[in-house]
Symmetry: C2
Subunit: 339 residues, 2 copies
């Protein structure tokens, strides 16, 4: 299996932004040293849910502080980006990291983020599609490109630098819908599956993806899935749950509040990746190293080879996260590497 670290740099009440960034970067660098395969950063705006608003700039920084790990966005909210600027910045990070960038992309779900940028959340799917089409076009064209779209128009643009990976960094799309999975299968994009769903739901999503792959004439066992999971490892199951459960519930509660920020927003597109009705015991990987290895084995048996671990749970202290990281590095990674 491949194991990633998934981070959003939350900013709980009473904490300091500089401390939170500093701790997050130290966690990421330690994950690199411990042999994690990838680091993934969310993009969020205007709230305490995540203060990484420019995930690519932070990955540019981590490109200098890490040697080996893949660096990913999970996800870049394409409807809120000018696609040419996004093409430039992503290619810059790909160059700075020597081709280590993975581009997780999605259409967003928080009403406040769209309102804050003056964008109608009802347009998110159309904007996502137009932005993605622009990205593909500028990265697969040799010369300047012109575009007259619904949301963006420009003439003779040849974004520089070009990506280090050709024609562009791999796309990973946050989706679980039949249409989204079919697009990923047809286009050879990876799939990002959310952390906040029970493993039963995940199993159904994986089955749908295999069908989509078959439908696209691809190997049903091929494709790429990265599943996110809230994770906390401590010497015993009891300690892991005692440390992590309340902070994670705080995180989920705040996420739900943002989703419901306006009823219109929720109705028109603010579907959250967090299923608050899911049994935490079935979604979160909290436990001893042995327990978490066993849970990862269950995930592997669903056909999922890649899991990104979300360790930064609400107000869980930095020291507890570092201790969890160390246990994962020493006891979990070696045990699941060959699965």
């Amino acid at each position: 299996m491949q194991i990633g670290l998934f981070h959003s740099v939350q900013w709980p009440e009473g904490s300091d932004q500089r401390d939170r960034y500093d701790q997050a970067l130290r966690q990421a660098c330690r994950a690199d040293e411990l042999g994690f395969d990838s680091l993934w950063l969310t993009e969020h705006h205007f709230s305490r849910h995540g203060i990484v608003s420019d995930s690519l700039a932070v990955l540019a920084h981590l490109a200098a502080r890490t040697d080996r790990v893949r660096l990913g966005t999970a996800v870049s909210v394409l409807p809120l980006h000018h696609p040419l600027r996004f093409a430039e910045t992503a290619a810059t990070v790909d160059q700075l990291s020597g081709g280590r960038l993975d581009l997780g992309i999605g259409s967003g779900y928080q009403p406040g983020e769209f309102r804050g940028f003056g964008v109608d959340i009802a347009e998110k799917h159309e904007r996502f599609a137009e932005a993605l089409a622009v990205l593909e076009r500028v990265w697969t064209s040799e010369g300047p490109v012109s575009h007259a779209g619904r949301y963006w128009s420009f003439e003779d643009a040849a974004p520089q630098p070009r990506p280090f990976q050709r024609p562009h960094p791999p796309f990973w799309m946050a989706t679980a819908s039949p249409e989204g999975l079919a697009a990923c299968a047809a286009k050879d994009w990876g799939v990002l599956l959310p952390q906040g769903t029970s493993l039963t739901v995940t199993a159904g999503q994986v089955k749908r993806y295999a069908e989509a792959l078959a439908g696209a004439g691809a190997d049903p066992d091929g494709g790429r899935v990265y599943l996110a999971r809230a994770t906390h490892v401590a010497p015993t199951d009891e300690q892991a749950w005692a440390e992590a459960e309340d902070p994670y519930k705080d995180f989920l509660g705040y996420a739900d509040k943002l989703r419901r920020a306006t009823s219109a927003g929720a109705a028109e597109g603010g579907r959250s990746p967090f299923d608050l009705d899911a049994d935490l015991r079935d979604s979160a990987l909290f436990g001893s190293p042995d327990t978490v290895v066993s849970r990862l084995r269950d995930i592997r048996e669903l056909g999922i080879e890649r899991v990104m671990l979300f360790l930064h749970l609400g107000g869980l202290p930095h020291e507890a996260i570092m201790s969890s990281l160390e246990l994962i590095g020493r006891k979990v990674l070696p045990a699941v590497r060959e699965l």
Copy 2:
């Protein structure tokens, strides 16, 4: 005096983007080690003139690879940025660098950059003013901000993270006009003066700025000016000119071609910072260490305490630039430090 390194990462025909980035970053890191006070990156789009399109992302990277130098944009082309995204990214770099960011800002001049983003270059001054007003407002407001402007509108946006420097990183405005200098004097913004003018012209600009400071009731000897100069140092004057003159003329010729890319663009706002009629012997600092120290002394006598050196001249080879950097570090910096 304070001495900076000014870089645009040009991409001459036949060169490789990855090599050019790699060399530029090594030059920047060496400048940090040699005791330069600052690193400044241009922002350019869609051409070989400069392939740093996201200067803040590259500064995020350099924040990790340097310990001490100030990190600046020279300049960020504000009319082409969404001001909220710009606020987020700049604050991110300021956090990642522990408050080392300087924000050079300007309104741009290359017609092809505006056309490539689908922006009318005739709007550049209005867009600059609106973007800058948004930046000042979001960084001096405690809570969310709404804005209904001519070019950007949004509701309840509180960009995160907040800058490390409060209320925000220092602004440096690229300007030499009486109105621009008056704004800098009134607002306590620094002034960036261009490399491509003769020192006689620069002297007039400095005089106008002193008058603007006096007019604003500020100390006429106060204020902050960073002057850019094309620079190449070699063991002898002859060698310096032999190595640098043709590459720099190639650079200037290409810059002029971009400026003239459309006659309409040139008429409506495409005024270049490069004066092709200026005598290179009066604008460029090419020469032996003693010669360049003497030229910097002349600049200091105009009242200018800060000079950023532009060493990356067209196709001048990396090795020649590194050799120039070493001579500056060993022989020029110690001699001008106390001026």
